[in-house]
C-alpha cells in the first residue's frame, strides 16, 4: 500500500510538472454548495466542448487541450487557492463563473499577465479595455442586461414606459447590485419608477419582498438572482399570482433549474440571454457522437442542451476561437497566456464563423478591440413553456442603450484607474 501511494504520488508529481505540449485550460467550477445547480451544467458544457475538440480535431491547431478542474464551491477563498494552484501550469484563460471571485482575480491576472474572461458576469466596467487590460466580458454584461430588459419592455409598450412601475428583486451582493445604477439612469430617461428589493444570500426567504410586490403592484418585475434564490422567487411570484409574462430574469435567472420546481405556474416566465437555447445545432450531433456516446462527457452527462450547459459550451467556443486567433497572430501552436490575451483582444465572431462551427445563429456577432473588451452588447429574450419544458427565443439579439451604459462604464472605469494609478494603453 505504501509503495502504491508513493508511486501514485510520484506519478502525480511528474504529471503535474510543466508539460509544455498542452494548451492548459483551468476550470474553476462549483459542483458543490448552494450554487451547484448552476455550476454543474456550465462546467459540463465547458469541459465537453474541449473534449470534443480533442476527440474530433486532436486539439486546437494540432495541440491537445488539457483541462484542470478545481472546485471553488462559489467561495472566494477557495477561488484564490484554485487560482494560485493552477496558474503555474501555464493556464491560458480563467473563467470563474462568480462575480466575487472575479473581483479578486482582476488585479491578480493583470499582474500575472493571464487573461480573464467573465462572460455575462463580473465587473461591468471591465468592458473598457483601455483600463482593464486583462479582463474581457464579451459578448454582453449586466448593464446590457438591464438595458436589454428595459428596451424589451419599451417595445412591448409601444416605446413609452412613463408612469410604469418596475421592481428589481436582486441578490444582495456585488452581483445583484450591479444593474441598479443603470436602471436608475434608465428610469430617469424613460420616466418609469424603480423599486429595488434586496434578497440576502442564499435567498430562500423572500416572503417579505413578494409581499411588498403584492402591495405595490409594479407593472413589471426584473430579477438578478442566482442559485436557489431563482426558484424561490418564481414560486413566490406564482403564489401571489403575479403575471409571469411580466416577470423577467437576467440570464443567470433563466435556466431549467429555476422554473421546473414551480411546475405549470412558471409558464410564460421570461429571461434575458446572449446565446441561443436548445440542441437544434449541428455541433450537438458531434458532441453526441464523439463525447456523450463515447462515455467521455463531464459530470453525469445528463445536462446536454440545458440553458447553462449551452452557456458553458459557448464560453468554451469563444475561448477556443481566441486560441485559434492567438495561434494565428503569434505563429506558434503552443501559445502563452500573454499571446492568448492578444488573441482575445483580436477576436471577431461573424455569422460565417459560427455556421462553420456548427452553431449558426447560436450567439450574436461581435468583435473585440483594445478599447472594447465587451463586444457589441446584443441581448435577446427567452420564454419558458411549462407544458413542453422548453425555453424559446422570443426576441432576437438586439442592441442595448450604448449611450447610457457607455457613460456609466467610463465613469466607473475612470474611478478604478484613479484608485490604482492605471494609465490608458490604447
Amino acid at each position: 500500500m505504501k509503495l502504491k501511494l508513493a508511486t501514485a504520488a510520484l506519478s502525480a508529481l511528474m504529471a503535474a510538472g510543466p508539460a509544455l505540449a498542452d494548451l492548459v485550460i483551468p476550470d474553476l467550477s462549483y459542483r458543490t454548495g448552494p450554487y451547484a445547480a448552476g455550476g454543474i451544467p456550465f462546467s459540463d458544457g465547458y469541459n465537453d466542448y474541449f473534449t470534443l475538440l480533442n476527440e474530433r480535431d486532436g486539439g486546437i491547431g494540432g495541440v491537445p487541450i488539457r483541462m484542470v478542474e478545481c472546485e471553488t464551491g462559489y467561495n472566494t477563498e477557495k477561488g484564490v487557492e484554485c487560482y494560485e494552484a493552477t496558474k503555474g501550469e501555464g493556464a491560458l484563460v480563467y473563467q470563474p463563473l462568480s462575480t466575487g471571485i472575479t473581483y479578486q482575480l482582476i488585479p491578480k491576472v493583470t499582474a500575472d499577465d493571464i487573461p480573464l474572461h467573465t462572460m455575462g458576469y463580473g465587473r461591468t466596467s471591465a468592458k473598457n479595455g483601455d483600463v482593464f487590460s486583462h479582463t474581457f466580458n464579451y459578448p454582453a454584461n449586466y448593464w446590457d442586461g438591464a438595458s436589454g430588459a428595459v428596451n424589451y419592455l419599451l417595445e412591448e409598450n409601444g416605446g413609452d414606459l412613463s408612469g410604469k412601475k418596475i421592481a428589481l428583486v436582486y441578490h444582495n451582493s456585488a452581483y445583484g447590485k450591479e444593474p441598479i445604477r443603470t436602471l436608475e439612469e434608465l428610469s430617469k430617461k424613460h420616466g418609469f419608477e424603480l423599486v429595488a428589493l434586496p434578497v440576502d444570500h442564499p435567498g430562500q426567504e423572500q416572503k417579505s419582498q413578494w409581499l411588498q410586490i403584492r402591495r405595490d403592484r409594479p407593472d413589471y418585475v426584473l430579477m438578478w438572482g442566482w442559485g436557489v434564490m431563482n426558484q424561490v422567487a418564481v414560486q413566490e411570484a406564482a403564489n401571489i399570482r403575479f403575471p409571469m409574462e411580466n416577470f423577467i430574469g437576467i440570464w443567470w435567472s433563466g435556466s431549467e433549474n429555476d422554473v421546473l420546481p414551480a411546475g405549470e405556474a412558471a409558464n410564460g416566465y421570461k429571461a434575458l440571454t446572449f446565446h441561443n437555447v436548445g440542441t437544434d445545432f449541428p455541433v450537438f450531433d458531434d458532441l453526441q457522437k464523439h463525447v456523450v456516446d463515447a462515455g467521455k462527457a463531464a459530470g453525469a452527462g445528463d445536462q446536454v442542451g440545458t440553458v447553462l450547459y449551452n452557456r458553458g459550451l459557448y464560453a468554451a467556443v469563444l475561448a477556443a476561437e481566441a486560441i485559434k486567433k492567438a495561434q494565428e497572430i503569434s505563429g506558434n501552436a503552443e501559445i502563452t497566456p500573454s499571446e492568448m490575451r492578444a488573441g482575445m483582444e483580436a477576436l471577431e465572431m461573424t455569422e460565417e464563423k459560427m455556421a462553420e462551427l456548427g452553431l449558426a445563429n447560436f450567439g450574436p456577432t461581435f468583435s473585440v478591440s483594445c478599447e472594447n473588451h465587451g463586444g457589441d452588447a446584443l441581448v435577446g429574450v427567452t420564454q419558458w413553456d411549462a407544458a413542453n419544458k422548453t425555453w424559446t427565443l422570443i426576441s432576437d439579439f438586439k442592441q442595448t442603450d450604448g449611450e447610457v451604459i457607455g457613460a456609466l462604464i467610463d465613469e466607473d472605469s475612470a474611478a478604478y484607474a484613479a484608485e490604482n494609478n492605471i494609465e490608458g494603453r490604447c
Partner: protein
Amino acid sequence: MFYREAGDFKTSYTDDSQTFPIKFDRYRYYVVLAVAFGIIPFVINDYWANALLLPFLIYAIAAIGLNILVGYCGQVSLGTGGFMAVGAYACYKLMTSFPDVSMFIHVILAGGITAIVGVLFGLPSLRIKGFYLAVATLAAQFFLVWLFNRVPWFYNYSASGQINAPERDVFGIIITGPNAPAWATYLFCLIFLAVSALIARNLTRGTTGRTWMAIRDMDIAAEIIGVNPLKAKMSAFAVSSFFIGIAGALFFAVYLGAVEVGEVFGIQKSFLVLFMIIIGGLGSIFGSFAGAAFLVLLPVVLKVVGVDVLGWPTDIVAHLQLVIVGALIIMFLILEPHGLAQLWRVAKEKLRLWPFPH
C-alpha cells in the same frame, strides 16, 4: 530523555517564571521562530503564501483573539465574522483616506477601532451570560454585516458594494495589491501574529489574565474576592476584538484584496473561528495555532491528495472533505474534549518520563 526539567537550574525568579521554563521547549521555540523568520521567506512562492500560510497566520490571530474572550474569560461570542468585518472596513477607509501612512499603522488602528466596537457590543455581557450572550453577539454579527452592506459610505460608494485594497507599502515594500511579493505579505502577517501571540501569552499569565479566568470559573466568587467584573469583561472584549480586528484587516488587505462583506465575513466565519479554538483547545495560545492550522491545512491537504494524487473528480473530493473534516471534529470532541492543546500537553508529560515511565 531530552525533555525534562531535571538539571535545568534557575537562579532567579525571572528565569523561573518565563514562558518556556524547560530548556528543550525554549530551544524548540527559538528554532520555530528562526525557521519562520529566517528560512521560509526565502523559499516561499505565491501558492504557499496565498493558499496556505497567509490564511493560517491570519486565522491564528483571529483564533487567539476569540480564545481570549471564550477560552480565558468564558464569554461565548458568535460575532467574530462581524468584528473581522469592522477591522476590514476600518482598514479600507483608513487606506483610502490616508494613502501615505504606513500599513502597520493602518492595521493597528483598524484593530483599535474594532476594540471600541467590541466593547460596545460586549456591554450586554454585564447582564447576561452563556447562551443568551451568544445570541446577543449573534445580533452583532448580523447587524454589522447589514450595516456594511447598507451604508455606501463604508465602501466609498462603489457600484457593486465591494471593497478593493489599493496598493500600499511599508518602508517602500509593497504589502497589498497584486504586485506584493509573497515573502513581504508573509512576513507582514507573521510579524503581527508573533507580536499578538506574545502579547496574548503575557496578558494571560499576568493579573489581567487571572481576573479573566476568575470570571470564567465563577463570576460571583471572583466578584467576592475583589475582581471587578466590569473591568475584566470589558477588557476581555476589547483585547479580543483588537486581535480579531487586526485579523480582519489583514484578511481583507493582504490576503484577499477584495471583499464582499456578506460572503466573506458572514456567520460561517464566526463558526469557523469558534471551531478552531474548540478543536485547538479553549484557554490555550498554542491551541489557537493548532486549531487554525488544522482547519486551514486539512482541506487543502485532502484536496491535493484526492484530486492531484489520486485523480478523483473534484466534486467527490469536495464532498469527502466535508465528511472527513466533520468526522474528525466529532472524533476530537469525543476523544479529547480539551482539544489539540491537551494532546500536546499529554505528549509532553509522556516525554518527560520517557524512557523510564515509573
